[in-house]
């Protein structure tokens, strides 16, 4: 082996940039979170049309997931990758392109989401031009990252790098397949999947966005920064390898647990549940590994805010990954789904795991990146306690809210009727918990503000010019070489288990990446493809017809306003649900739903059978002033729908895009606007008949009402036995 040393420096400027961005977007994302928390107790804070809950909630989730946690991952990854591989990043230009590209995407999200431009899929709301931007920036990151690995001076890829590789690869796969859609104009598109299949793809994506954007990247960070802060190696490197392979293999199967008791085929839901329960093991292996890294160093936790943050982060990871498998068990899920319990669960993960790990990392990095002392250790301690109390207040109150509402929804009285038939009763009961949650959020955000002060003051004390220490390491010999002096092990079994072949793999990031991809993709093949390709999974219903052009336009308004953030359209076959909402939802009812709008949280009641429940006029008044109909309603008012003209001309493009996806639109592909106008006149005439004299026939409200009145009515038209045998007609939806 050559003893010639090569000299090089690390690029810390890029880590500094990402660190500042992490803090900034963290503050923005969490402040929006605080605002929407307050909107639930003070509905007057919904300043329409741009700042309503339905439009801001996706902004909050996108900002904290992709902007805050995303930038934190990049910051830590750029810092640690260079050091673990003993090389500078492949290209500073690509690093900077990645940074500015990512910030541009965040800004685009912050502008389009309040504008109502959304694909209506959770954590994948951004419209197609931005999606293409994300793909391009991700490729820039990946090229830079893999080229850096290729130029490394350390043979063995440390386990943190494995986690980074798995994240980069899987996020790319998830992003591309979930966002396949047909544009219907600039900033408007329909996914190529419909109904059950769209739901399956979305939660395959949604669950793994949590897995591969919030879990694996942060585990990579944990496996690097925890040993650094504790100044000792990770407790068990072997366990970390087992943790890695088990996680990347199992996580990808777990998505269907988001769809228990929905119209998803039951085998898929059961499979998702089983893999979720299995995930408990590797997750806790990882947690234990993180905590035991502190063996013999616990006394340091007392003095070091960095370690305090890390300990809470890893503990929160343990709690969230215990709860996740528990929530994925069907009987638990039947209670928890659609309630705030899920919101509590994600915040244990986001505030506890991602937030605490990020802030611990920031405090560890500050003196090193800015080459000075941390401005105030004390302030960091205060931040820690504020964040901890904030998180505990937030989480406990929202757990209570979730359980309360879940139990109230399913409560029957002694006569066998729903104990709380008015949905609003179950909402009002949550108000004290919602206030407590907002207080918890306020404490957490205050901590972030203190962190900002610490960053600013530390930055101000930086040296006039950053020192660039020169590091020396020998280059890697070309090709794989056994360590000098080591003889080849004798015997095939010995050779196999001595892992020469595995070392070779690790030396070849390409092969390693392919194996990781295989571990991830195998689930997609066994779990997702059958749903698309085996007809019995989505029995069609002859009576279900496509939406009329006006209803389609109304559906797009429903999407624009983010109604699906608070209203589900999926009645589970459980007695409390069928009592409250009507006949349970069937897979065949959604074959024209591009995208599916099943929702995941019932802040308001389910709307799957809303059609015909109330007169048209009720909807007009309810949209204009929700509290004139339901005095305690927390729904935002939408008076703008009664005054804004409907874009009739634009409906043709929508119908055409749908027709392209295989929705049988017939004559509507030629005269959608005329058909829409005719139906709008009928709706408007009914409203006049019911007692409102205003002329609404060319306003948006008519389209929305037409859509709402259609919801869930098709199967009633078909008469008894509308459920046709599977083979009667080919499912029109799906990617073939």
């Amino acid at each position: 082996m050559s003893a010639q040393l090569e000299s090089f420096t690390y690029d810390d400027a890029i880590a500094r940039k990402f660190l500042i961005a992490t803090w900034l977007w963290g503050l923005v994302g969490m402040t929006v979170g605080l605002l929407i928390a307050l909107q639930l107790v003070l509905p007057g804070l919904n300043l329409g049309p741009w700042l309503t809950f339905g439009r801001l909630r996706p902004l909050h989730t996108n900002a904290v997931v992709f902007a805050f946690a995303g930038n934190a991952f990049f910051c830590g990854a750029y810092y640690s990758t260079q050091r673990l591989l003993k090389t500078r990043m492949f290209s500073d230009t690509l690093s900077n392109l990645h940074f500015w590209g990512w910030q541009a995407i965040i800004v685009a999200a912050a502008l389009t989401l309040p504008g109502g431009f959304t694909q209506a899929k959770e954590y994948a709301e951004l419209e197609w031009p931005i999606d293409i931007g994300i793909a391009v920036v991700w490729v820039v990151f990946a090229v830079n990252f893999f080229a850096t690995i290729a130029r490394r001076r350390e043979r063995h890829l440390y386990v943190a790098i494995w986690f980074y590789i798995a994240s980069i690869l899987t996020v790319a796969i998830l992003h591309i397949f979930n966002n396949l859609s047909v544009p219907a104009g600039f900033l408007k598109s329909y996914p190529i999947y419909a109904g059950v299949q769209d739901a399956f793809m979305q939660w395959w994506y949604g669950h793994n966005a949590v897995a591969f954007f919030l879990t694996t990247p942060f585990l990579g960070l944990m496996y690097y920064f925890m040993p650094k802060a504790a100044e000792r190696p990770v407790y068990s490197y072997r366990l970390s390898i087992l943790h890695f392979w088990s996680l990347v293999f199992m996580y990808i199967w777990a998505g269907p647990h988001h769809l228990h008791y929905t119209a998803l085929p039951e085998w898929a839901s059961t499979l998702g549940m089983i893999f979720s329960v299995m995930l408990w093991m590797p997750s806790w292996g990882g947690m234990v590994n993180g905590l035991l890294t502190l063996r013999g160093a616990w006394h340091k936790v007392v003095e070091d805010p960095v370690l305090k943050f890390f300990v809470v982060a890893v503990t929160a990871y343990g709690m969230a990954t215990f709860e996740g498998p528990m929530l994925s068990v069907k009987s638990v899920n039947a209670l928890a789904h659609y309630t705030d319990w899920i919101i509590a669960h994600v915040h244990t993960g986001a505030l506890g795991w991602n937030g605490f790990l990020t802030f611990g990392m920031i405090y560890w990095l500050l003196p090193r990146l800015f080459q000075t002392k941390l401005f105030s250790q004390k302030l960091a301690e205060v931040h820690f306690w504020l964040a901890l109390f904030g998180m505990v207040l937030y989480v406990t109150s929202i757990y209570t809210a979730g359980l309360t509402q879940g139990l109230m929804w399913r409560a029957f009285d002694e006569t066998g009727r729903l104990a709380f038939p008015d949905f609003i009763e179950t909402t009002m009961r949550l108000m004290p918990m919602y206030w407590t949650r907002a207080l918890g959020g306020l404490l957490y955000v205050s901590g972030v503000v203190l962190c900002g002060h610490n960053i600013l003051m530390t930055w101000r004390a930086r040296p006039a010019r950053y020192a660039e220490p020169v590091v020396q390491a020998p280059p890697l010999p070309r090709g794989y070489a056994r360590e000098p002096g080591a003889a080849a092990p004798a015997g095939a079994w010995k050779r196999f288990t001595s892992l020469g072949w595995h070392r070779r793999w690790e030396g070849l990031p390409l092969t390693f990446t392919v194996m990781t991809a295989l571990a991830v993709i195998v689930a997609s093949l066994f779990e997702i493809l059958p749903t698309f390709l085996i007809r019995s999974n989505v029995p069609t219903i002859a009576a279900v017809k496509p939406y009329t052009p006006l209803e389609l336009a109304g559906r797009d308004l429903y999407i624009r306003e983010g109604c699906f953030n608070c209203h589900s359209q999926m009645i589970r076959p459980l007695r409390p649900e069928t009592e409250r909402y009507g006949e349970y939802s069937k897979p065949g009812e959604f074959v024209y739903d591009h995208p599916f709008l099943w929702g995941s949280r019932r802040i308001g009641p389910d709307l799957a059978r809303e059609g015909g429940r109330y007169p048209d006029l009720w909807h007009v008044r309810h949209m204009e002033k929700p509290r004139s109909i339901t005095p305690k309603s927390i729904m935002p008012a939408y008076p703008g729908l009664l005054t804004t003209p409907l874009d009739f001309a634009g409906i043709q493009a929508k119908v055409d895009a749908m027709a392209m996806l295989g929705v049988p639109y017939g004559e509507a592909v030629n005269r959608a606007p005329e058909m829409a106008r005719a139906q709008a006149r009928e709706v408007a005439a009914r409203i006049v008949e019911q007692g409102d004299r205003r002329r609404l026939e060319d306003k948006e409200i008519t389209a929305l009402i037409a859509y709402l009145q259609r919801l869930g009515t098709d199967i009633k038209k078909g008469g008894a036995g509308a459920q046709a045998p599977a083979a009667m007609s080919a499912a029109p939806a799906g990617a073939r």
Partner: protein, 65 residues
């Protein structure tokens, strides 16, 4: 005949068990491989990589090169 026809009529249910056996076998192989006693030294070396990143002198605030 489309791919959907082929998949719908080929009776694939039994293959779930085959998949389970394959997955189990891969898992056992990984565990054996990772915990093989003669790999201990190599694993210990790998676990020290974060602590040996070449610029630790700078890592301590106030210490400049």
């Amino acid at each position: 005949m489309t791919l959907t026809d082929v998949m719908s009529n080929s009776g694939l249910a039994g293959y779930a068990v085959v998949a389970m056996i394959l997955f189990m076998a891969v898992f056992v192989a990984i565990v054996l491989r990772i915990f093989a006693p003669w790999r201990k030294r190599e694993m210990d070396e790998a676990s020290r990589l974060p602590l040996d990143d070449g610029d630790d002198a700078r890592a301590r605030p106030g210490v400049k090169r």
